[in-house]
């Protein structure tokens, strides 16, 4: 290759090796292509599995021709969804009927839940290539990957039975990791019977909205559970919050508006902690009057109000609209006690208490623990991820103490005799018509939190009466199980 050459250019006489420049060009371009091929390889090996599992990827029909849709499992190995062959046809089967309806979702008449968000994964086979090639060549379908959830089947059952025929939602999460341990929304649908009962579900004569996942999409006024954030806002705006005192006589007036305590019963002189424990509306309305509304607004946005929750399931945005420029003092007072225009989803409320339980760090909730191939080999594992850190450890500890008092001396006393120390907050969110929504959010054990719970029961009455007993059953079940 190396040949002596006479430089042709008239000005080029001082060149030693005119080919050197050309070699450099060769190196540069071959280098570019090596990088591109490296990226291509990296994409196919490491990234493609994640990328193609998008609801925008329309290849499910193409994939379904060669892969038998994978199974969905609970954390303890129960089969929540699987495909069986009946009379030569593939049928998707849900052994627990409507118990996991909203988490697992449905496959026919529009996908939802995990059947939707993990659709392409379930239709991707990661068994070994030789076996896959053999299946290809013999026209057999390869088994798709299985999705293993974080759901604890026992807790799910307890939550499902505890809420019974009420409308509402129960969500249980591990506050330190964001793992969802149980998620029930009622009324539900039976994914096995979608085709048969479709007309009925669509007509929805009783206005049950069975396909709505109330846990992530249901927007409720937070009622008194919101006082947790009001407290935090007050603490941040008033460094001497420990000195707060208010004399409660059962009602507070602002112009023509009167805000009453439950049964108009006065609480006497209360400080910040006892205001929360007794869920004193008048004291919090008073705080609402004192707060800087824009700072309050900014604080709720740090807690992801008006934002999409970091979860792959379909979810609604909670909303908080109080702002100085266009909100009245009256509205500020109502907002402070969780009435006003504020709306929150049960999952979001759970994330807020979990943040307190987890020393101020909000974890991203997740439902898929890992994906494995049909032989049990791990394809992908999800690890806990921090979402934001909206409060300090000190603030979390202080709020935790106050929430513990709710259980020891306040509206959550029904949980006091449990063999595990619970901290929490009740709520009764009044509606214009009908009875209040009953709320409870809390966690246990108080010193070293393992689970956090959020319960909402629609249109029944106080948190103490309906939501707290449901939460109690969950704590009992979880900690008895732990003791076994």
């Amino acid at each position: 290759m190396r040949t002596e050459e006479i430089p042709q250019g008239k000005e080029n006489k001082k060149n030693k090796d005119p080919n050197k420049a050309i070699y450099n060009v060769v190196y540069i371009f071959i280098g570019l292509f090596v990088l591109a091929m490296g990226y291509f390889t990296y994409f196919i090996v490491f990234r493609s599995n994640d990328v193609i599992n998008s609801t925008y990827n329309k290849r499910q029909d193409v994939l379904a021709k060669r892969v038998l849709r994978g199974e969905i499992h609970s954390a303890d190995g129960q089969i929540l969804a699987r495909t069986v062959i009946q009379d030569g046809k593939e049928v998707r089967e849900y052994p627990f009927d409507d118990m996991y309806a909203h988490v697992v979702g449905k496959y026919v008449k529009g996908r939802s839940g995990l059947e939707d968000s993990e659709n392409i994964r379930l239709l991707t086979s990661n068994i070994n290539p030789i076996e896959q090639m053999y299946n290809d060549l013999t026209s057999q379908k390869s088994p798709g990957d299985n999705v293993v959830t974080t759901i604890n089947a026992m807790l799910q059952q307890v939550a499902y039975e505890a809420i019974g025929d009420y409308r509402g939602a129960v969500v249980v999460m591990e506050p330190t990791t964001g793992k969802i341990l149980a998620m029930v929304s009622k009324p539900a649908f039976d994914p096995n019977l979608i085709e048969e009962q479709w007309e009925e579900y669509i007509k929805d004569e009783k206005e049950e909205s069975p396909f709505l996942n109330r846990a992530t999409q249901g927007l409720y006024p937070p009622g008194s559970t919101f006082k947790i954030l009001t407290t935090l806002a007050y603490m941040r705006q008033n460094p001497s919050f420990d000195d707060y005192v208010y004399d409660c006589d059962g009602s507070i007036k602002e112009g023509s508006m009167v805000i009453n305590d439950y049964n108009k019963k006065g609480h006497g002189e209360v400080d910040l902690a006892s205001s929360l424990a007794k869920s004193c509306n008048t004291s919090y309305s008073n705080i609402g009057k004192l707060l800087d509304r824009d700072q309050f607004f900014a604080l709720t946005e740090e807690f992801l109000f008006n934002k999409n929750l970091p979860i792959t399931m379909a979810s609604s945005r909670s909303s908080f609209t109080l702002q100085k420029s266009y909100s009245s003092v009256k509205e500020a007072m109502q907002t402070a006690i969780g009435q006003g225009k504020t709306l929150v989803t049960p999952l979001h409320n759970l994330m807020i208490v979990s943040t307190i339980a987890n020393g101020g760090a909000m974890m991203k909730p997740y439902v898929v623990d890992h994906v494995e191939n049909a032989d049990g080999g791990i394809v992908k594992t999800n690890s806990p991820e921090l979402s934001t850190k909206p409060m300090t450890a000190q603030e979390a500890e202080y709020l935790g103490n106050m929430m513990r008092k709710v259980v020891t001396d306040g509206t959550g006393r029904k949980l006091k005799d449990l063999n595990v120390k619970v901290a929490g907050k009740t709520g009764s969110a009044d509606q214009a018509k009908g009875k209040a929504h009953s709320w409870f959010v809390g966690y246990a054990p108080y010193e070293n939190p393992e689970i956090a719970v959020s319960v909402v029961v629609e249109s029944v009455g106080t948190g103490n009466e309906f939501a707290v007993p449901i939460a109690r059953k969950i704590f009992e079940a979880y900690f008895n199980m732990e003791n076994e």
Binding site: F40, V51, M133
Partner: protein, 450 residues
């Protein structure tokens, strides 16, 4: 039948692997016997892939028109091989085969995407090959081509200006001319004029004043393309010039200065033009803009990711979901249905062409031809890089075609013409040495055999 189609998938990858292997091996072979054997195998691989591709399509679509098109293409290939290898005994057989291989893949994929477009494409490519038969001879024999440097440059600029004011807009860029029934992309032909012009002008000298003058001409061309919103085109022209300048002057200063000012210009373009920012946005976070700006690239990634290494099998994927799949995004369609391994082989074949091209440049003693060879080499290779890099999300997508594979008459015509000019230079290279009677000449010649 399923078995057959699945089997062909593996067979296609195997054949492609064999072809690619020999395309590099043959560069090392010194003996004519070895080379002849390698070329026979490569020819066989092309025809086998061609047959299997159309056979698989026919099995699934069962349309007799496909058989007809297949037969037409086979006849075309045989004529091309026969004509060129008879008229030009010393033509680069490797380049000729690489072209046919890429064209074969293009034909199969375009037929799979749209039969009508495939018919058009076959017609244009057939016509171009036949009319280009004379080109290598012209380049080889006519030596006054280098005398009209400024003329090439000015004609190029005039053509582009005309398009800028009288052209039509397609996919956001105003770089099409409508002549009767045909739409035509003049910038493809300007590419050739541009390289010819720059090579001819540098051939006269590389003093600073001349460098400035030539740079102004090249810069004007690039700026017109920017105004046409043809980002990919502007980038290709710019990079080609910078590297030609570097080779002509042998000064790395120009290379660095060129690339640096290019980066500066890119930054300014990013600030000035929304359509530039959109490309970068869609590249950085395609899933954030999946409904609009990122739609095309995410669909492309779905295609590549779903295909994996082995591919879904011909006609068994869903590449039609990708907008403009038959031209700019054809690489994704190939990757989805033929598989990632096959796609890597295609990249290797392009690298192979690049190596042959630069080799040509190395062997040229005349700086005019030497510059043309390196200019075309950079132009062709950089376009391939932009095209493939864009669809795999390695770099922002610039919307350029994959030469010889993508659907598109102007691009096919200009690329084949470019290859035939290179063949002419190849003929010069081996002839030149013969006349000089250098000792090492036979060795050099046998680099690629006859």
């Amino acid at each position: 039948m399923n078995l057959v189609i699945e089997l062909t998938k593996y067979l296609l990858i195997l054949l492609m692997g064999i072809y690619t292997y020999y395309s590099f091996q043959v560069l090392r072979y010194k003996k004519k016997v070895q080379q002849d054997k390698a070329y026979r195998i490569m020819t066989a691989a092309i025809f086998a892939i061609h047959f299997i591709g159309y056979f698989t399509l026919y099995l699934q679509i069962l349309n007799d028109k496909i058989l007809l098109l297949y037969l037409g293409e086979v006849i075309l290939f045989i004529i091309i091989l026969a004509l060129y290898q008879t008229f030009y005994k010393r033509i680069s057989r490797l380049l000729l085969r690489n072209m046919l291989m890429l064209i074969t893949i293009g034909f199969i994929v375009i037929t799979r995407l749209s039969y009508d477009k495939a018919v058009k494409q076959v017609g244009i490519i057939g016509f171009t090959f036949l009319s280009c038969l004379i080109v290598p001879e012209v380049v080889n024999k006519i030596s006054w081509l280098k005398k009209f440097g400024w003329v090439y440059g000015v004609i190029g600029i005039a053509l582009l200006l005309y398009v800028l004011f009288a052209g039509t807009t397609k996919y956001g860029a105003t770089n099409w001319l409508e002549i009767g029934e045909f739409t035509f992309q003049p910038s493809e032909i300007v590419k050739l004029l541009y390289v010819f012009g720059i090579a001819a002008m540098f051939d006269e000298g590389t003093d600073f004043r001349r460098v400035c003058a030539i740079s102004v001409m090249a810069g004007a061309t690039v700026i017109i393309l920017v105004f046409q919103k043809d980002l990919g085109g502007a980038l290709i022209f710019f990079v080609t010039y910078v590297f030609m300048l570097y080779i002509a002057t042998q000064k790395s200063f120009y290379l660095f200065a060129g690339l640096l000012s290019g980066s500066g210009a890119a930054y300014i373009a990013y600030q000035l033009f929304y359509h530039v920012r959109v490309r970068v946005m869609a590249w950085q976070n395609p899933f954030g803009y999946i409904d609009n700006e990122g739609y095309q690239i995410t669909q492309s990634l779905f295609a590549i990711g779903t295909g994996g290494w082995i591919g879904m099998g011909l006609n068994r994927g869903l590449p039609t979901d990708i907008p403009v799949v038959d031209s700019d995004f054809i690489f994704s369609a190939i990757s989805e249905e033929f598989g990632g391994l096959f796609a890597i082989c295609i990249i290797l074949i392009y690298i192979n062409i690049f190596v042959v091209f630069t080799n040509l440049s190395l062997k040229q003693e005349n700086s005019f031809y030497r510059l043309i060879a390196i200019g075309f080499s950079v132009m062709f290779t950089f376009q391939v890089f932009l095209s493939i890099g864009g669809v795999i999300k390695f770099i922002p997508s610039t919307g350029v075609t994959l030469p010889l594979i993508s659907y598109g008459g102007s691009s096919a015509l200009a690329t084949i013409l470019m290859f035939m000019i290179m063949q002419g230079i190849y003929l010069r290279g081996s002839a030149g040495r013969k006349e000089q009677g250098h000792k090492g000449s036979s060795e050099v010649k046998s680099q690629e055999g006859r």
